[in-house]
Symmetry: C2
Subunit: 201 residues, 2 copies
């Protein structure tokens, strides 16, 4: 049992790497077996089908995202400090992912018009993160740190846009100032939405 | 000759549709031949290789992009009117592409870590559009419509981020307010960068 769990975790680890590089659609039991120097039936023993494997990869990716980005951020005081921490850790994670790729972003392009359980799983994960950002933004309004007329949906839309641009420019255009530009835009976004009293303080 | 050109154009048209749906990597001579009810050798007669076909698709996509977005916009007065027209037509084109997909955006994900002539071609096209936006933004500064201390690179980065978000949210999340959010963000971006005199006028 212990050994089985270790093997499953090792397969999942390799699958995450392959999926980040070749996309979730590029992930095959055969390719993974070769990478792990296992038989295909050895991989099938841990993941019943290719689709089960793809879904397990999305869930593991999300677990790591939560562990690195979400969980440390919600230890910050609610409101602006928490929202800023979420954004900073998100950008930091992307800066580490420049070499490997982000399954949420590549997955959105792979599955935008391909319905089914993989699209549903991806969508659920992306929406969960969007909701977490929205909650933090609304708390910043409640705390009087952001203006009471702030359109939080709009704010979160623009934050997410900046991270998409960071990924695009760093991975595809390979420019070296995308992180800096994203951070600068976020600061301006926050400063424009800051409540007058919070600005004074 | 005339007939040959027509056939080539019809193949290219079908190839654009397939590439928007399945990605440039999903484009095969076999799939295209089936779609066109032609033999594979018939397709090969017009495009020497799969790679030639993929590059022809990118160039044709770019030609249409220029025709729909760039060329009508540069008829506007230089500066802010031209920059705003470029953005508005770009958003409009995306709103039509919600059903079909955008080869620049899906291509960026497909080829971000896959070097070669296809990546080079895509990159060249995306950079050409980025330079055109930058030129228009700098002219808006020269014309005194945007503040003289405007960081035009930053402005164009944020404009591009908004279009990436529009594509992501409309195609993947399937929300219906992405166009409106993108336009609202653009207006705020322009208003924050507007020169005081231009604001007064």
């Amino acid at each position: 049992m212990r050994k089985g769990e270790q093997t499953r975790a090792a397969i999942l680890d390799a699958a995450l790497e392959l999926a980040a590089r070749d996309g979730l659609e590029g992930l095959t039991i055969g390719g993974l077996a070769e990478r792990m120097q296992m038989s295909k039936s050895g991989v099938f023993a841990h993941f019943g089908s290719r689709e089960d494997l793809q879904i397990a990869v999305i869930q593991e990716y999300h677990r790591r995202f939560e562990e690195e980005v979400f969980l440390p951020s919600i230890r910050e005081p609610r409101g602006l400090p928490r929202l800023a921490a979420m954004f900073a850790r998100w950008v930091e994670r992307h800066s580490r992912e420049i070499a490997s790729g982000c399954i949420y972003i590549s997955g959105a392009v792979e599955y935008d018009d391909r319905p089914g359980p993989i699209r549903d799983e991806l969508l659920q994960m992306v929406l969960a993160w969007k909701r977490a950002l929205l909650r933090a933004a609304r708390q910043a309004v409640d705390e009087g740190q952001l203006r009471s007329d702030t359109d939080c949906e709009q704010l979160v839309y623009e934050m997410r846009a900046l991270v998409l641009a960071l990924h695009h420019d760093a991975r595809f255009l390979r420019v070296d100032d995308a992180i800096e530009r994203t951070e600068r835009a976020f600061e301006r976004l926050m400063s424009a939405a800051s409540a007058p009293l919070a600005q004074a303080a």
